[in-house]
């Protein structure tokens, strides 16, 4: 195992993040604040409680998940797409590293960045609402797993994408709708019965529900199902990445 290579990639990716720290930091704080103004104050004032939780607090797990998922995907996809785009990928291919090490470096860095933003949003949220986290360990575990699995997913998108448009395509057309419709801002029980059933086909529902459980001790779906969903998603991503590297798909001619 070429640990130094993994560390080199990780550090390199993190350095990019820190070069744009202000932007990395300010943008989630600003958007979280905006969500609280719109959903918390404007709309939330008409919805007093959802399942016994103040609406402002209720949306926090969804908000964190929304950012963490999109950030994981964007960071990882861009991280590996950029070297492909400018050609520096030659160095990764000619270095004594296995693809596994390359994935660890890029996905590790992307997940770290997403975690950082997740924490920033949590801290920002705590300025607006009272937050009691019922299962802190489970909360951290869910956060880490979500960051990792969505970074893996983003990595796949970055490998697959052949231009900037494709790079944006899946996050924009698939992930964002799934996340918004995955119960970020509402409980599934608030939907008409037919929609409740349809919603259960959205994998993101299970992740947000599980994450919310770690905050409030209650969830739309059973916590076991949530864990199963995230495990299944991670497995699918890992298998895809394994296949990509086995065949050199869009990396090695």
């Amino acid at each position: 195992m070429n640990l130094r290579a993994i560390w080199a990639i990780y550090k390199y990716e993190m350095a990019r993040f820190f070069r744009t720290l202000l932007q990395s930091f300010v943008s989630p704080v600003l958007s979280t604040s905006l969500y609280f103004v719109v959903f918390g104050a404007a709309i939330g004032s008409r919805i007093s409680e959802v399942e016994g939780v103040a609406y402002g607090a209720f949306i926090v797990p969804g908000l964190v998940m929304l950012s963490v998922m999109t950030q994981s995907i964007t960071n990882a996809a861009f991280g590996i797409y950029f070297p492909k785009f400018i050609g520096t990928i030659y160095e990764l291919l000619s270095a004594p590293v296995s693809f596994f090490e390359v994935v660890l470096g890029y996905v590790g860095a992307a997940a770290t960045k997403a975690m950082f933003i997740g924490v920033v949003i949590l801290v920002t949220s705590s300025l607006f609402v009272d937050l009691d986290i019922a299962h802190p360990l489970a909360m951290v575990a869910f956060l880490v797993l979500t960051c990792l699995s969505f970074s893996l997913f983003g990595f796949i998108i970055g490998i697959w994408a052949q231009n900037f448009e494709q790079l944006q395509l899946i996050p924009l057309l698939i992930v964002t709708p799934l996340v918004f419709l995955g119960g970020s801002f509402y409980s599934i029980s608030m939907l008409p019965p037919a929609w409740q059933t349809i919603t259960l086909f959205n994998p993101v529902v299970y992740l947000i529900s599980g994450f919310r459980w770690s905050f409030f001790g209650q969830a739309d779906v059973a916590i076991g199902l949530s864990l199963l969903a995230i495990a299944a998603f991670t497995t699918i991503c890992l298998v895809l990445i394994w296949a990509i590297f086995k065949t050199g798909y869009r990396i090695r001619a």
């Binding site: 400018i86 000619s94 090695r252």
Partner: protein
């Protein structure tokens, strides 16, 4: 000298069916500078990309430092440095950071003294904290070389190091390559300039349409390729070659206005001075002079029609 790179029947067919390498076999000796000479699209870049792990060969084997590039890819790649043809660097990166990154990627521990030595050798030390985008084209190329050298490779591949580079920078690059050779690194460089092969290589391999046509000591090759032609345009047409010019083997054009003289540029005496003096003595007035060297393309045609590498 022992062999450091052994290539055995290496083939590469791309997905679109294009056969870029048709069974290339080549042995490169430790410590030499080998120029891989060939026109655009000959397979030069594919060959070194296959050796460096950027392209997966379709068939054949290759060993670097005795290590198989597929089975022992980690150990093999650890002793290879690659300088790509295109300038591929992250524009916002600092010189020293990108060089350190390369060393780490190759699994080597941080060594600031070594990196300083490499950067000084390439006259980049003063620019170590500059961002890549602030550097000139020539300096960017040096950064690529620094990145390739910072893990102390034994074999360095330089893919068209002077393509699209002005004369001064080209000479500068040649000096750098010469310095690297002095430090004991084996260098394989691709080029489509005969002059470049002539200036720095010990041996020259000619590749054309995915096949190695010949591998030869540079000096021997240059003698063969060194044929030049002097074209002398006359003010007044002449009916026949004057007697005094007989031993030059000149060719007179049909209209009697042009004399062509073929000579060996590498020879100690090209005979040009004597030819011109004789022409003056004969009272033949010259309108213009031109010299031409057989192009690489012509040499290839010659090589192929000679039944491959005479």
């Amino acid at each position: 000298m022992p062999a450091i790179v052994e290539i055995d029947s290496l083939t590469k067919t791309y997905d679109d069916g294009f056969q870029a390498l048709k069974g290339v076999s080549l042995t490169i000796e430790e410590g030499e500078i080998l120029a891989l000479l060939g026109p655009n699209g000959a397979g030069k870049t594919t060959l070194i990309s296959a050796l460096c792990g950027i392209v997966a060969p379709t068939g054949g084997h290759a060993r670097v430092g005795g290590l198989d590039i597929a089975a022992d890819y980690r150990a093999a790649r650890a002793i290879i440095g690659l300088v790509p043809q295109e300038i591929t660097l992250e524009p916002f990166e600092k010189v020293i950071d990108t060089v350190r990154f390369s060393r780490g990627l190759f699994g080597r521990p941080r060594d600031d003294a070594l990196i300083e030595r490499v950067l000084r050798q390439l006259s980049l030390w003063d620019k170590r904290d500059s961002r890549i985008m602030q550097l000139s084209g020539g300096m960017k190329r040096r950064v690529l070389i620094a990145k390739a050298l910072c893990h102390e490779p034994r074999v360095l591949f330089l893919d068209e190091p002077t393509a699209g580079v002005d004369v001064e920078l080209r000479r500068d690059m040649w000096r750098v390559v010469e310095g690297l050779k002095q430090s004991g690194v084996t260098i394989i460089l691709t080029t489509h300039y005969i002059e470049e092969a002539e200036a720095i290589a010990d041996r020259v391999a000619v590749i054309h349409r995915g096949e190695i046509l010949l591998v030869e000591e540079k000096d021997a090759l240059m003698r063969r390729m060194g044929q030049k032609c002097l074209r002398i345009e006359l003010t007044e047409p002449i009916a026949a070659e004057p007697e005094a010019l007989a031993d030059f083997g000149l060719v007179l054009s049909d209209d009697g206005r042009v004399l062509s003289y073929t000579y060996d540029r590498q020879a100690e005496r090209t005979g040009i001075t004597r030819l011109l003096r004789t022409l003056a003595d004969e009272g033949i007035a010259l309108a213009d002079l031109q010299t031409a060297q057989s192009s690489l393309e012509e040499i290839f045609v010659g090589l192929v029609s000679d039944g491959k590498a005479a």
